[in-house]
């Protein structure tokens, strides 16, 4: 009891009550602190937090417009869009990409190919965009992922519009393809001030018509002001600016004709450009081999990419526009027309062909031993006599040849509506001065003019230049810019914007002279070098075979069997039909095809048969191995 203090109950209760008062004071004080904090948040900082809440709530979602369709002249759809689900990862929101992808592959099939493609996209992109790891998910896969999505922050399923080329490899060189927007594309967009149109877009035309008409096909991005939940789920739409869909592209190309031309090649390499002479509209533009543009849309996987890039056949090169070849004897009708125009020859004027032409101590051989005998202009074209043109070239001189050929657009871009056309080479002293550095190389030697006359030497033209030239000839000297698009269609209003076929030049040619050449070209197909290819044709066509020498066989016999396939000459053929009122003009090139009559003319026959008669060929055009007299 000594240590304990005695406590009077009354005093004790007073002390207890004092402590109760203290407790109340504590409660008031502490609640007061909370109230001060609330006044700070709700009164003084209210505007700031109200804005934060609005920012939370409202999200501006871009609506990507429908890309315009690409249709052939009969309305067949060559490029279309479809909606599909993709599984996308935003790398910046994912801590460990590899393990995330590993976990995902437990739910959804992810091939090593998909991973490689994703890596490639990752290298090319910025971290904050979401990149597809898998495209075209099935409904079941979507459901499986959605059930587990909480495990995968930074991974989402998106519904996207995909570009699809339903005909695959067919016409791929002219269509081109779209791919993911890269920095260069963005610069391009910025330069044109079109950033607003492209908000939220991830694709851009990379090649072919898709590239050239990108800004017509794309349309304009719309916007949706959406109220979103914390999980990013759109709850309701507050306002909406609809997107403007891209224009549809209606082509002059006829897909069936294109298909006939491509199939005529079989496994061979080469190009065909077929043009409607009266408009310049391109009916078919073939480059073989082709590729599958669908592979490029979401980033091509490295396997396919390597296969395309390392193939000796170079399937990604558009030979119709980007490869220049010596025209060989297809040059001769133009030489003859030039000679008539500047008065160096008359149609009846004959030469005697001994089988060679000597100039400056050098012998230029005709491919027919012993020569063709007496040769006039008609014979020179029908039999493709070299000696006639060696001498003619020498008589005309290089300047006259160059200036005449230039009028047909040879050695210049045709202006076709696909980017990246090659210029080719129209040889002239001026060209040589520009082309070479050392003075002795810059000099034009008179001997060089001789082989120019038969389409060899420095001559190099793209198939579309040859096609455009022969179309101009077929159209009696009225030249059109070759084009693949007939008109653009505004999907909303139905309004059409035609690509008007305005002639770009009317060449100063006499109709009589043109008729002489056309007549000779008809002779080629009737009784000349291309006779066998056009045997029994139910229409009158005009043509000229050609062979572009790859290998200089000076003085030696050319025996094709002894030369490796890759070193064989390129076969060429230019033609138009019907001869009196041409509906189609074309240039055919078969790489390493040997003689023009042998490989190229049969392809032209199949194309004409389909276009003029609606006849579908059976399989690839057979090579005419008996055609020997066919330079």
């Amino acid at each position: 009891m000594s240590a304990a203090e005695f406590r009077a109950p009354e005093q004790e209760i007073q002390r207890f009550r004092a402590r109760l008062v203290l407790a109340v004071a504590l409660a008031v004080l502490m609640f007061g602190a909370v109230m001060v904090r609330l006044v700070w948040l709700q009164v003084l900082q209210h505007d700031y937090y109200r804005t934060r809440a609005e920012d939370n709530r409202i999200s501006l979602a871009p609506i990507v417009p429908n890309r315009g369709l690409i249709l052939d002249r009969n309305g067949l759809v060559l490029a279309r869009n479809f909606s599909a689900y993709t599984l996308e990862i935003t790398p910046s929101k994912v801590a460990d990409l590899e393990s995330t992808i590993d976990d995902l592959s437990g739910l959804i099939e992810i091939q090593p190919r998909d991973r490689k493609r994703f890596r490639k996209l990752l290298d090319e992109s910025k971290n904050f965009e979401s990149l597809p790891i898998r495209t075209r998910l099935s409904d079941e896969e979507v459901a499986r992922f959605v059930a587990q999505r909480f495990r995968f922050p930074g991974v989402e399923v998106k519904a996207r519009l995909f570009r699809q080329y339903p005909y695959g490899e067919l016409a791929s060189h002219l269509l081109g393809y779209i791919g993911r927007i890269n920095d260069r594309d963005l610069d391009n967009i910025e330069e044109k001030g079109l950033e607003d149109k492209y908000q939220g877009s991830i694709y851009f035309g990379k090649a072919g018509l898709e590239q050239r008409y990108e800004f017509d096909l794309h349309g304009q991005t719309g916007f949706e002001e959406v109220e979103v939940s914390a999980g990013g789920r759109a709850v309701r739409v507050l306002s909406r600016t609809p997107p403007v869909p891209g224009n549809n592209l209606h082509l002059t190309v006829d897909l069936k004709l294109q298909q006939v031309a491509e199939q005529a090649f079989g496994n061979r390499r080469g190009a065909v450009v077929a043009i409607e002479p009266s408009t310049g509209g391109v009916l078919a533009l073939v480059s073989k081999p082709t590729f599958d543009p669908n592979l490029f849309v979401d980033g091509i996987d490295p396997q396919h990419w390597d296969a395309y890039n390392n193939s000796p056949d170079h399937p990604l090169v558009n030979r119709a526009l980007n490869a220049a070849y010596p025209p060989g004897s297809t040059f001769k009708p133009f030489m003859a027309l030039g000679a008539l125009t500047i008065g160096k020859r008359t149609p009846a004027q004959s030469i005697s062909d001994p089988g060679f032409f000597e100039f400056g101590g050098h012998t230029f051989r005709d491919d027919k031993k012993g020569g063709h005998g007496s040769v006039d202009m008609y014979r020179s074209i029908v039999a493709s006599c070299d000696t006639y043109y060696y001498r003619l070239a020498s008589d005309m001189g290089i300047d006259a040849i160059a200036s005449f050929m230039g009028q047909f657009g040879l050695g210049a871009r045709t202006g076709v509506d696909i980017d990246g056309e090659s210029i080719g080479i129209l040889p002239s002293p001026e060209w040589k001065r520009k082309r070479f550095r050392r003075p002795e190389q810059q000099k034009w030697y008179a001997g060089e003019t001789i082989s120019i006359g038969i389409g060899q030497g420095y001559n190099a033209y793209t198939p579309i230049q040859l096609a455009s030239a022969v179309a101009t000839l077929a159209n009696d000297g009225v030249r059109f810019r070759p084009h693949l698009v007939s008109y653009l269609e505004n999907v909303t209003t139905g309004e059409r914007r035609p690509i008007e076929p305005q002639p770009i030049a009317r060449l100063a040619l006499k109709q009589d002279n043109i008729d002489v050449i056309k007549h000779a070209m008809v002779g080629v197909n009737k009784e000349g070098t291309a006779m066998r290819a056009f045997l029994g044709a139910e229409y009158v066509s005009a043509g000229k075979t050609g062979t572009a020498q790859l290998f200089s066989l000076k003085g030696a016999d050319y025996k094709e069997g002894h030369v490796k396939e890759r070193l064989r000459d390129h076969a060429l053929f230019i033609a138009f039909a019907p001869a009196d009122k041409p509906k189609i003009a074309l240039a055919v090139l078969v790489e390493n095809g040997g003689f023009g009559a042998q490989a190229a003319a049969p392809i032209a026959r199949q194309v004409f048969d389909y276009w003029l008669l609606g006849k579908l060929p059976q399989g690839a055009a057979a090579e005419d191995n008996d055609a020997s007299d066919s330079n």
């Binding site: 304990a4 406590r7 409660a27 109230m35 609330l38 709700q42 009164v43 809440a53 939940s229």
Partner: protein
């Protein structure tokens, strides 16, 4: 005849109620109901559950209110010992959920023994001080401290910081009301104030990676540090604080209106029907709604403390005082957490948050207060 019989039944059932306390509690529960409806709008089945919880809790209150304090006193020691035994059981063989060992599986049901300690600890301490009322020695406070710290330590170790703080506060208030010398209270308060001050002032340094705080788990350190600077972790722990602060601040003075809180209904507020329900209230009813809530709490506490002041037994006085201050502690810790002045500890808003266990505990507290009020004259002096 029959009318009087019914009257009798009603009287024996509801006569034990303290009308002022009941009125305040019902006002609070009604206000809470309005907010719960909004907070559970996306999950309507929770509303039905809330009604069920209310029925059970009010039933428990009616039952407890009929038990005289003397009876409660006899329950104090057994309840405490059973609770302690269960806590040890949890520590040895409890179920782990969300990284904490809080539940004990008895085979037929899972219980959370820490919850019952919220009442059992003040009950035990009030009984202890009541027994030693006549002669109170320093040693008695030491024993009381042990009685308190043993369960608190076990709960904190689970770890359940929120409940540990509440149990600790309940006990501390009993000891305080029992007359602990200010000479002992003052230094502790001073040390606490210094600690908090240092944390706020040197927060950047202390929260740096790799700085370990003695006796504190990494996740608890993280919570405190996130409070000091929520922007360090905007998508993780900081998300709670940032989003609830935005909800509160955007509510303004009068609020956005019932069911119109964008932060609430677009799911930006995490745990909006439980621990963060105050953010819903502050967003939809603004500062005005918050003031109403605080006034109701103050009224509840004041009435509880008044009951304590008028109680005739030491046991009743201490218990009533402690229970009233538990309500204060609950409310303050929760409001402080949601408005961003205290770290995020899992403490629900008393009488408002959805959740049956806490509601039952709180209503048992109300029942005890009413019992003390009704039986004050019957107590032998």
């Amino acid at each position: 005849m029959q009318a009087t019989a019914i009257k009798q039944v009603l009287r024996s059932t509801f006569g034990v109620l303290d009308p002022p306390l009941m009125a305040i509690a019902l006002a609070l529960l009604a206000y809470a109901l309005v907010v719960v409806i909004s907070a559970t709008a996306d999950f309507p089945s929770r509303l039905n559950q809330h009604f069920a919880n209310l029925a059970v809790a009010l039933g428990a209150m009616l039952v407890v209110a009929r038990v005289p304090p003397q009876r409660l006193m006899t329950l104090a020691l057994p309840a405490y010992l059973v609770g302690l035994a269960l806590l040890v059981g949890v520590a040895v063989a409890g179920d782990v959920s969300k990284g904490a060992r809080r539940w004990l599986n008895l085979g037929f049901m899972r219980i959370q023994p820490s919850e019952m300690m919220k009442i059992a600890v003040p009950l035990m301490l009030a009984w202890y001080f009541h027994k030693h009322e006549a002669v109170l020695r320093a040693r008695d406070f030491l024993v009381a401290g042990l009685i308190l710290l043993l369960p608190v330590a076990l709960i904190a170790k689970q770890p359940d910081l929120g409940t540990a703080i509440l149990v600790l506060a309940a006990g501390v208030f009993v000891i305080f009301f029992a007359g602990l010398s200010y000479k002992l209270i003052m230094p502790v308060l001073l040390a606490a104030a210094l600690g908090v001050g240092a944390l706020v002032y040197y927060g950047d340094h202390l929260c740096a990676d790799g700085v370990a705080w003695p006796g504190i788990k990494e996740y608890q350190k993280h919570r405190v540090c996130t409070l000091l600077d929520p922007s360090t972790d905007p998508l993780g722990k900081g998300f709670h604080i940032i989003q609830s602060t935005i909800a509160v601040g955007s509510g303004g003075i009068m609020g956005k209106g019932w069911m119109k809180g964008t932060q609430t209904h677009l799911e930006f507020i995490p745990e909006r029907h439980t621990d963060f329900i105050f953010a819903v209230m502050a967003e939809e009813f603004g500062l005005a709604g918050a003031i109403l809530l605080v006034l109701l709490y103050l009224a509840l506490i004041a009435r509880g403390l008044m009951i304590a002041a008028q109680a005739t037994m030491q046991f009743s006085r201490l218990l009533a005082g402690s229970i009233s201050m538990i309500y204060f502690t609950y409310a303050f810790v929760n409001l402080g957490m949601v408005s961003g002045i205290l770290p995020v500890v899992g403490v629900p808003l008393p009488f408002v948050s959805y959740g049956g266990t806490a509601l039952v505990t709180l209503c048992i507290g109300l029942g005890i207060l009413m019992s003390i009020r009704k039986h004050r004259r019957l107590a032998p002096d």
